[in-house]
Amino acid sequence: MSEIVLDKLTKRYGDGYEAVKGADFTVADGEFFILVGPSGCGKSTLLNMIVGLEDITSGELRVDDEVINDVDPKDRNMAMVFQSYAIYPHMTVRDNIAFPLKIKKVPKEEIAKRVDEAAELLELTEHLDRKPVHLSGGQRQRVAMGRAIVREPAAFLMDEPLSNLDAKLRVQMRTVLARLQQRLGTTTVYVTHDQTEAMTLGDRVAVMRRGEVQQVGTPKELYNDPANLFVAGFIGSPAMNLLPAELDGGTVKLPMVDVELPADIRERIGDRASGRHLIAGIRPEHFEDAALVGDPDAPGVTFKAPIDVIEWMGAELYVHFTVEGSAHEELRELAEDLETVGLGPTDEAQIVARLDIHSEAKEGQDTELWLDTRKVLLFDADSGENLTREAAAPATADGS
C-alpha cells in the first residue's frame, strides 16, 4: 500500500539520449495506473526507474513521502512482472513463486502457505511441481504474476505483461489482472503500448510521447477531452479523424462541409485560434447516417460522402470515405509516432464514420451523413494543443 510520487523525473542515458523528460505525476495508493505510448517513448525506462533498475538522472522519486532515489531495488519492496516473464528456468513453479520469500528468510510453513494461496488464486496449483519449460505462454505469465503477488509488495510494476500472449488469452488475462488488482488493492503501475488495454484496465492513464508525459487522466477524460493532438490520435479505436480546418468567425470550414460551432465551444476557443493553422478532430461515432439521426434537436450538419469501403462488424457499421485537403506537417509526424498506416496521398484525408447498423449506405455510392457539431475538436496544428478543451488549465500534465 503506497503512494508513488514522481517529481520531475528525468533519465539521460550514457550516450546522452534523454529517454524520460521531467515526468511529474502521482500514483495514488491502491490505484491501477497505466503508462501508455508508442514504442520507444520511454515507458520501460520510467518503470525501471521506479523499481530501481535504472538510475534517476534528476528529479525525486518518493514513496509514502520517503525519497527512494538511491534505495537498492531489493529494499524497495516492489514486485515486477517483466515483458519476458523472466521466470527462473532451473526452478519448479513452486520454487519460482517461493523465491522472493526464501530470499527474505520467511519461515518454511509460511512460505508453503502463501505459495499455495497464490497458486490457487492464479489456478496454478496442479502445475506447482513442473518446470517452466513445459508450461504454455499463459501459464508462464501467471507464474510471473504469482512471484509478484506472494510478496505482498508495496507496489506492482508490470512491463507489458500480456504482450507475448495471443489475442484471446490476452483478453482473458486482462480480466484476471483487473480482478486480482481490485481484490488485492495494491498500487499498480502498468506499462503497455496498447491503448485498448490502457483504457480497459486503468483507473488513470498517463500518455507518453518521446519521453514526455502528454496527459494524465482517467480513460474517460483522455477520450473525451484530450489535451493535444497526440493524445486525441492515440486514444480510441478506430482512431479519431483528423482533418485540416479553417476557422472563420464561428464557422469551421472542413474539407467536406462548413460547421457552425455552438456558442460554448466558441467561447472556449476565444481568440487563440486567430492566425493559426488548425486541425479538426472528429471521432467516428460522431457521424451518423442522416436518415437515422435519433435526436432531431441535436445540432448538426449534413453532407454527401462518397463511401468507398464498408465494414460491417455485426453490432456496428464503419464506412470509409476520402475528402480533399492537404495534411499538415504535424499530422504526418503524428502518423509516424502513432505507427498508423499513413495518411495516404498528402492532399487527401481518409475518414472513418460509425453508423447505425440499419444504415442503407452502399460501397461506391454517395450517402448523406450527419455530423454532431458539438463534438468537433479543434487543435492548434503547430503546438498540437486542444483549443476546445473543457478542463480549465491547458497544461500538458495535470500534476496529480
Binding site: K74, N77, A79, F82, A86, I87, H90, P100, I103, P132
Partner: protein, 283 residues
Amino acid sequence: MATTGSTAKRTPVDSFVWALGTIVVVVYALVPIVWLVSLSLKPADKLNDGKFFSGSPTMENYRTIFKDPQFKHALVNSIGIALIATVLAVVLAMFAAYAIVRLEFPGKKLVLSGALAIAMFPPVAIIGPLFNMWRALHLFDTWAGLIIPYMTFTLPLAIWTLSAFFREIPWDLDKAARVDGATPFQAFRQVIAPLAAPGVFTSAILVFIFAWNDFLFAASLTSTNRARTVPAAIAFFTGSSQFDFPAGSIAAASVVVTIPIIVMVLIFQRRIVAGLTSGAVKG
C-alpha cells in the same frame, strides 16, 4: 518419396548408406584404441605376434608401470597440474567473459581479438625463450612452470566458449532476482550460476583435456619427477634392456591416462544439457 530434409523418411538405400558410413567411422576411430588395449594386455613375448587377441591376457604391463615410481609421480603431477590450470583458467575466463557480455568498455573488441590471436599463436615458437626465462625465474621443472603456459594457451578458448554461453543467458533474470529482493551476490549464486554451469563445465573439459594431453611444454620445461607429466614420462620409459622397446608398458600407460578423460567427459556430459535456459522467456 523425394527426401529433401533430414526429417524426411529415409529409403532403404539411404539407411544402408548411413549405416555403412557409421560403421566405417566407428571402426576407424576405435581400432587403434582396441589395439592399444590388446597390446597392453599382451605378455612381453607375444607383443609382435600381429594378432588382435592372442589369448592369455595378462595384467603384467600394468603391474610394471605402477611399480615404476616415475609413473606414479607423473600421474600425480598430471592430475595436480591439469586440475589447477583448469580451475585458474576457467575462473579467470568467467570474469573476462562476464565483463565482455555485460559491460561496455573501451577496448572490448581488442580483448576478444587479442585472445583469438593468442589462441592462434604456435606454442612451439615460444618454447625456446620460455625455456631460458623459466630457468632464470626458477620456474623450470616446477608445477607453476607448466600451469602458467597451460593457463595462457587455454584462456582464449575458455573466454570464447564462456562468452558464447553467457550471451545466451536471459539477463532479465538477474534484474528479476534483484527486484525479488536478492543482493547482487545472491542473484548470481542462485540464478545466474546454475544457468552458466553448462558453459563452465564445457570450457573446463576443454581446458583440462589440453593440459592433460600436452606433450610439448611437459617435455621441454621439466627434467625430473618433480613436475614431469604422464605424456612426457611415457617417452622416458625404458625396457628391460636398452634395445628392448617397452611397447607393452607404453600401451598400458596410455590406457591409464585415457581413463580420467573418459570419466570426466562421462560425468560432465550430463551437465552439459543444451537448452537448460529455455522456458525462462517465451520463445
